[in-house]
């Protein structure tokens, strides 16, 4: 029977997942109820629950309960996972869209004007390697609002890949296509929208895809710092609660959401891709 490579890969993935989960489950010692209690345990009331890494079965159980009611809200420290992720997505998308609004036009300018490229290059080279979290204290002081500061941090980290890719994409548009625009007497604005933008779109969207990935990495750290809401805060809060089941569950959720964001941009990338 001919089985396609996709099916084979899927089966192999399932086998690997099952093996990893089985190893994990077996590696966790069973419940501590049995066996001799230590002196300390007896003193402290005996049978006090000892924190340990939870087995996968516990994580799956947790996931089922959390995902069955993702949007409940029982006060500041007890919100559904859907609400937390919603807050994070809101910050990421706001900061990211603002960054796109700034980065793509400036990238266009730099890409079209070698003079502007040279003039702005030193600033970009110095600002780009700064860890986005290093901006946090300054942002908190200037903006005086932790939520907006988180958005600012996302803004500042998303801007660079989009800016640099847009500039590169615009600068490397084939001379022939520009000549087509020139021989058809297109205005600079029409040339930008009808020729340069579609020609540079694959490179620009690649930059956008890199940016959204970085923004999603950074939001977790930023929310751990600013606190209050969001998936990053949730992870840190559950760590403070010593609820490792929730920590592992939320780590997985961060991965899934990041994957979905990337997949959305991969789809956009395919839409603007062209074959020469």
């Amino acid at each position: 029977m001919a089985v396609s490579d996709n099916v084979k890969a899927l089966l192999l993935s399932a086998v690997m997942l099952a093996a990893a989960l089985a190893l994990w489950e077996l590696a966790i010692p069973g419940s501590q109820s049995g066996g001799q209690l230590s002196e300390y345990e007896m003193l402290s009331g005996g049978g006090a629950q000892q924190a340990s890494v939870p087995p996968p079965s516990a994580v799956i159980e947790k996931a089922v309960t959390e995902l069955s009611q993702p949007f409940y809200d029982n006060g500041p420290n007890d919100k559904g996972i859907g609400i937390q992720i919603g807050y994070s997505l809101y910050r990421v998308l706001t900061g990211y869209l603002l960054a796109a609004l700034v980065a793509i036009p400036i990238g266009f300018l730099i890409g079209m004007s070698p003079l502007m490229y040279k003039a702005l290059d030193p600033f970009i080279q110095v600002l780009r390697p700064i860890s986005p979290l290093a901006w946090m204290p300054l942002a908190l002081f200037v903006i005086k609002d932790s939520q907006t500061s988180a958005i600012f941090v996302i803004f500042i980290c998303s801007i660079w890949p989009m800016l640099i890719n847009t500039a590169f994409g615009v600068a490397s548009v084939r001379k022939d296509w520009i000549n087509v625009a020139r021989t058809h007497e297109l205005s600079p604005l029409k040339t930008a929208f009808l020729v340069i933008l579609p020609a540079a779109a694959p490179t620009i969207v690649t930059g956008m895809r890199i940016s959204i990935g970085i923004a999603w990495l950074v939001i977790v750290a930023a929310e751990m710092l600013v606190g209050g809401t969001g998936i990053g805060y949730y992870v840190w809060n559950e760590w403070n609660n010593l609820d490792l089941t929730s920590v592992i569950f939320s780590i997985l959720m961060i991965g899934v959401v990041g994957m979905l964001l990337d997949a959305a941009f991969a789809r956009l990338q395919r839409a603007v891709q062209f074959q020469e």
Partner: protein, 305 residues
């Protein structure tokens, strides 16, 4: 002397000296005319500045000296009055063949409705033989010949006063090239479009052109001769090789390209007349057909064209 449709006067392109080098003169003293409805080919070795002349005519490049007057107006910058077909087709790869032609038509006639633009574009695509769904494909899904057809359709569809063809068939295989040459000839004879075309192919030039300009080798390249193709139209690929004048013209061109383009390179002195010498290798045959006597030597006609 009445003014010609296009007058190219004393064109030169020089590049300033790079560090430690001499200034480079690509071509100089290019001085010729093109009449309305004329099909002119230009032949020369690589590096002689053919493409420079083409780019200056298109308005994509600026001459160091001299200028061009077309239809009473000076050429300064690119214009829809001059359509260009580039060797590498220069189609926009993210647009379908039809959209590529519509791109040009829309630029030419911004006031037209979408339906008008599409109808006009389809007419020209059909004229070059792109039908039955091929017009909806992207350039990458078309063969080289098909792509060049689209490019030709785009140029003809904007109905420019002058059509510039930069080695349009250079990248095509011989069979495809023949077919598209025939098509170009058919379309041209229908529109009486003025055409200026660069080619490397002697037979192609004889088949298509009214007049063939010959360039000496560069640097300091110039246009040495203007060869009149005295073969009556309509011409057919299979028939013109039997025309008594065909090989006279062909031999003249090959002889020029093999020997004299080198010998004449850089021989020009300033102040001498710039106009290329007009040569009519097949004048006898043309006259014979017209019933006039003629001597048997290829003749040099006066320098003025």
């Amino acid at each position: 002397m009445s003014r010609s449709f296009i007058e190219i006067s004393n064109l030169a392109k020089r590049f300033p000296a790079s560090k430690g080098g001499k200034p480079l003169t690509v071509l100089e003293n290019a001085d010729f005319t093109i009449e309305r409805g004329e099909f002119v080919c230009i032949i020369g070795h690589s590096g002689c500045g053919k493409s420079t002349i083409m780019n200056i005519l298109a308005g994509l490049d600026v001459p160091t000296e001299g200028g061009i007057i077309m239809d009473g107006k000076e050429v300064s910058g690119p214009s829809l009055e001059r359509g260009v077909v580039f060797q590498n087709y220069s189609l926009l790869p993210w647009l379908s063949a039809l959209k590529n032609v519509m791109f040009g038509v829309r630029a030419r006639h911004p006031e037209w409705s979408r339906a008008q633009v599409q109808e006009h574009s389809l007419k020209y695509l059909h004229m070059v033989g792109l039908t039955g769904g091929a017009e909806l494909r992207k350039p990458a899904q078309l063969s080289g010949g098909m792509r060049q057809r689209v490019s030709i359709a785009r140029a003809f569809a904007i109905q420019p006063k002058l059509l510039l063809l930069d080695e349009p068939f250079g990248a095509l295989d011989a069979l495809t090239r023949g077919t598209i040459q025939d098509e170009l000839l058919r379309i041209w004879s229908g529109t009486q479009q003025t055409v200026f075309m660069i080619t490397h192919d002697v037979d192609e030039a004889i088949l298509l052109a009214d007049r063939i300009l010959l360039m000496t080798n560069g640097p300091h390249a110039r246009i040495a001769e203007s060869v009149v193709v005295d073969i009556p139209r309509p011409r057919k690929r299979g028939e013109i090789i039997h025309h008594p004048g065909y090989y006279k013209i062909r031999n003249h061109l090959v002889d020029f390209l093999t020997y004299r383009s080198k010998e004449l390179a850089g021989t020009h002195t300033r102040g001498a007349p710039n106009r290329p010498v007009t040569v009519r290798p097949a004048a006898d045959e043309a006259e014979a057909e017209a019933g006039e006597p003629a001597d048997s030597r290829p003749r040099l006609v006066s320098a003025a064209s």
